[in-house]
């Protein structure tokens, strides 16, 4: 009889132990939320974009910008959350009359985290690092326009350009100024920002802490921890269970509903620059025919697509230009309206009254497979048969981007101001309109932003009229935070997440 009871006791013991363990966890959790602990000014941010390394020129990915841009590293200029370019490490600048040289005076008394004073030599080295062989910087082509750099004294840098470039300051705003003394920036840092790198636990978190030697206004919190998740629902669970304070960018619409109408959380619907594209290979038949592209555009009920993917979030666009770019034209949303009869007649005019068949190279990650299925059913109504070919992100790069071995594809394009790619006939989609090429080039060499804006507006209208691609919708940019946290950026422009103004009240 005694022996028979023993296993039962074991089970009971195990249960009691797990309850005990859970209880102690409960007590700890409660303490954390009381605000009494010294950690209360640490802001916890949840993200899906873990950096692969810490360098923005060595393939660190968008997570690097999110955690380090503006926080640990600074540029000569700063791209604000509403898209303006302001002085940062540059105290002032002058542009030559021909637009071919920029003289920048550096702010005085700026130190790197290592203690070294910032000089013009560091600026020169930082730019050379971006264009060096082996650099993976996304901005490499913008800086190839720099012919030479002079450093007449420690505080003066002069950039000489091959061609006038009105976006030059904008590009400088995304270039980190680093103390290039031979360290491995993939695992270490030496920037001038308000935070220093604290710890990076690969696969889980990256923390930065307030730096006392900062030249400007100090950070309003004592530090920030970016927690990385691989799964969108794990990320929202972390916010629901109080482990994190902010989700920097919601990627799954399913995650939003549980925070709606709950006073504990604030949902911020910011301005996104991420566009979902059905990109044609405009070089090859039948997509070299404008009417075919326009027919496809008009056959797709984009409002229905957006709603089925993002519910009430996100917005429709009619071109590559998001509303935050200066050359946005709201009238273009309906440049190619949803109209199946129009689609059919355009298709007939193009010589395909009975439709045709094409292959759609579809990246395997969300939302592309869903979008592909939707397009397949929409296009079937005008007689076009879509064969969906699922490919990995890596294969997309080889097959579509590098080898241009495709007919049509789906892709999200994340950057602001990227309408200029339509002025490059060598880009993967191969759109080639000499007027647009000329306008994009003239816009870049414009003397005033007004002139630049006018030229790019024209580009914007032309590509919409010719349906260079189908711009399906603009992603929403959603930041969800607990309501006692404020001061965070809501637009997340260029994947930045400036954290120094975030305040947590108890």
């Amino acid at each position: 009889m005694k022996l028979k009871n023993k296993p039962t006791l074991w089970v009971a013991g195990l249960l009691i132990f797990s309850l005990f363990a859970a209880q102690s966890g409960f007590a700890k959790g409660q303490n954390d939320r009381s605000g009494a602990s010294p950690d209360s000014t640490i802001v916890n941010i949840g993200s899906l974009y873990e950096p692969t390394n810490l360098s923005n020129t060595q393939g660190g990915g968008q997570g690097v910008n999110e955690a380090l841009s503006g926080n640990v590293y600074e540029g000569l200029f700063k791209l604000t959350d509403d898209g303006k370019v302001e002085n940062l490490l540059a105290a002032s600048y002058t542009k030559s009359a021909d637009g071919l040289s920029y003289t920048i005076i550096l702010r005085d008394g700026v130190k790197f985290h290592s203690g070294k004073l910032l000089t013009s030599a560091d600026v020169k080295a930082s730019l050379e690092r971006v264009v060096a062989p082996g650099s993976l910087s996304a901005r490499i082509s913008s800086f190839r326009n720099v012919k030479s750099i002079d450093t007449p004294d420690a505080r003066t840098v002069v950039f000489h350009l091959n061609n006038p470039a009105i976006s030059f300051l904008y590009h400088l705003a995304v270039m980190w100024i680093v103390n290039d003394d031979g360290r491995d920036f993939r695992i270490e840092e030496d920037g001038t920002g308000p935070y220093t790198l604290d710890t990076w636990n690969r696969g889980s978190s990256l923390s930065i802490k307030k730096w006392d030697g900062y030249w400007g206004a100090p950070a309003k919190n004592s530090g920030v921890v970016f927690y990385y998740f691989t799964d969108a629902s794990a990320l929202s669970n972390a916010l629901l269970s109080g482990q994190i304070d902010i989700i920097a960018a919601v990627q799954s619409p399913d995650a939003i509903a549980q925070f709606e109408n709950n006073p504990k959380y604030k949902i911020n619907n910011g301005a996104s620059t991420t566009k979902e594209l059905l990109a044609f290979n405009d070089r090859v038949a039948p997509f070299d025919n404008t009417n075919v592209r326009k027919a496809i555009y008009s056959a797709v009920n984009r409002a229905k697509l957006l709603n089925s993917i993002w519910g009430n979030y996100g917005s429709l666009i009619g071109s590559m230009v998001p509303p935050t770019d200066p050359w946005y034209d709201p009238a273009l949303v309906n440049a190619n309206p949803y109209d199946v009869n129009l689609a059919k007649s355009l298709l007939a005019q193009a010589g395909f009254p009975n439709g045709f068949t094409f292959t759609l190279d579809t990246p395997t990650y969300d939302p592309h497979p869903t979008v592909a299925e939707f397009l397949k059913s929409e296009l079937a109504s005008i007689g076009i048969i879509v064969n969906i070919n699922s490919i990995s992100a890596d294969e997309w790069y080889s097959k579509v981007y590098r080898d241009r071995d495709f007919t049509a594809t789906l892709q999200e394009h994340v950057n602001d101001r990227d309408v200029v790619w339509y002025g490059n006939p060598n880009f993967y989609w191969g759109y080639n309109n000499p007027d647009v090429v000329k306008l994009v080039s003239e816009a870049e060499q414009a003397n005033s932003t007004d002139e630049q804006t006018q030229k790019l507006l024209e580009v914007n209208r032309t590509i919409a009229r010719e349906a260079a691609s189908v711009w399906l919708y603009l992603y929403p940019q959603i930041v969800i935070a607990v309501s006692n946290v404020s001061g965070y950026p809501i637009n997340g422009l260029n994947s930045q997440f400036h954290s120094y103004n975030i305040v947590k009240t108890n």
Binding site: T230, G242, D394
Partner: protein, 320 residues
């Protein structure tokens, strides 16, 4: 026994090399080119050639394998193509989560499954033995990720007594938080694991209770319990040990799935990410490590079985 150990160790080595070859070839069958990770978005043809030469994807498969094998035998797992950071130390740091999680959940499951299996067998015919049996059969059918989701919902979101996932900043140096972070993954694995182990233990105990030597022992006047303690337990675990080996291996692989649900920076999350990024050196490093662990576990399970049951030893010696 020595003969057997040598024979078994040789078999271990051969299987390991065969596994390496399979891993290597299967990875090369994936579409895409690992050199992509080294290329900027506007790469020129020369840059592409350079990158291919750098990662070795321009060479023949055989050559690539030989080079890789030579490096691995020197303990060099290579450098991640994506991050440019060595793979070996990262795998080692990930093991600091995966190994404790696996071993601890295995041990707890073993204890719990022994209790459940024993009651279910010893009390065969009673209603609670039936409940235990039905329970374990049902749980086996439930995938671990689903159990994980339910536990997160219950313990983290409804009761709010445990973190829903993630790993503390600072890792094991923040010991209390680290333990907290492991509790839900642990009970998820234990839940699933206990169910399947208890079935094996139950049927093994049932066999023993039916056996001649227990009956003999009973006829000599020992109680059922005493007979079982004296003669039963050791015998009951002989068939179970080989199952335990397999189960320990599957716990290790199951931890890989569970780590993803709970966003733990173990081998599992590293593997999924590496596969998505086509990071050959990282994938190979992880698969090599897990394959090695699984083979070694199998080796020890075999040896342990022979220690527990002298008959197997003799059999082998006669045969070998």
């Amino acid at each position: 026994m020595i003969n057997y150990l040598l024979h078994r160790a040789f078999f271990l080595l051969v299987s390991f090399i065969a596994a390496l070859l399979v891993i290597f070839i299967l990875l090369r069958l994936l579409p895409g080119d690992p050199a992509n990770a080294l290329l900027p978005s506007d790469a020129t043809a020369e840059q592409i050639m350079e990158a291919r030469a750098k990662v070795g994807s321009d060479q023949s498969l055989g050559r690539q394998f030989v080079q890789w094998f030579a490096r691995v035998t020197h303990g060099d797992f290579g450098t991640s193509l994506v991050s440019g950071i060595p793979v070996g130390p990262e795998v080692a740091s990930r093991l600091r989560i995966t190994v404790p999680l696996t071993i601890l959940s295995f041990l707890i499951s073993l204890v719990a499954a022994s209790a459940i299996g024993f009651i279910a067998a010893y009390k065969n015919g009673t209603w609670y033995a039936a409940v235990l049996t039905v329970f374990s059969q049902t749980v086996i059918a439930i995938p671990a990720f689903w159990v994980g989701i339910i536990f997160v919902w219950l313990f983290a979101l409804r009761l709010n007594i445990l973190p829903s996932g993630g790993w503390p900043n600072g890792g094991w140096s923040n010991f209390g938080k680290a333990v907290e972070a492991l509790i839900l993954p642990l009970i998820t694995i234990v839940f699933v694991m206990t169910a399947s182990l208890s079935r094996y233990i139950r049927s093994s105990v049932l066999n023993i209770l039916d056996s001649g030597y227990i009956r003999t022992s009973r006829s000599l006047g020992f109680s059922q319990g005493r007979s079982f303690l004296l003669h039963g337990i050791r015998n009951a675990y002989v068939p179970v040990v080989s199952i335990l080996g397999i189960e320990l291996s599957s716990t290790l692989l199951g931890a890989v799935v569970v780590e993803n649900i709970f966003s733990l920076p173990g081998l599992g999350s590293m593997l999924t990410k590496a596969i998505a990024q086509h990071d050959y050196p990282a994938i190979q490093g992880i698969l090599l490590t897990t394959t090695f662990l699984v083979l070694v576990i199998g080796f020890f399970a075999d040896v342990l079985q022979r220690i527990l049951d002298p008959r197997l030893r003799n059999q082998n010696q006669r045969g070998g």
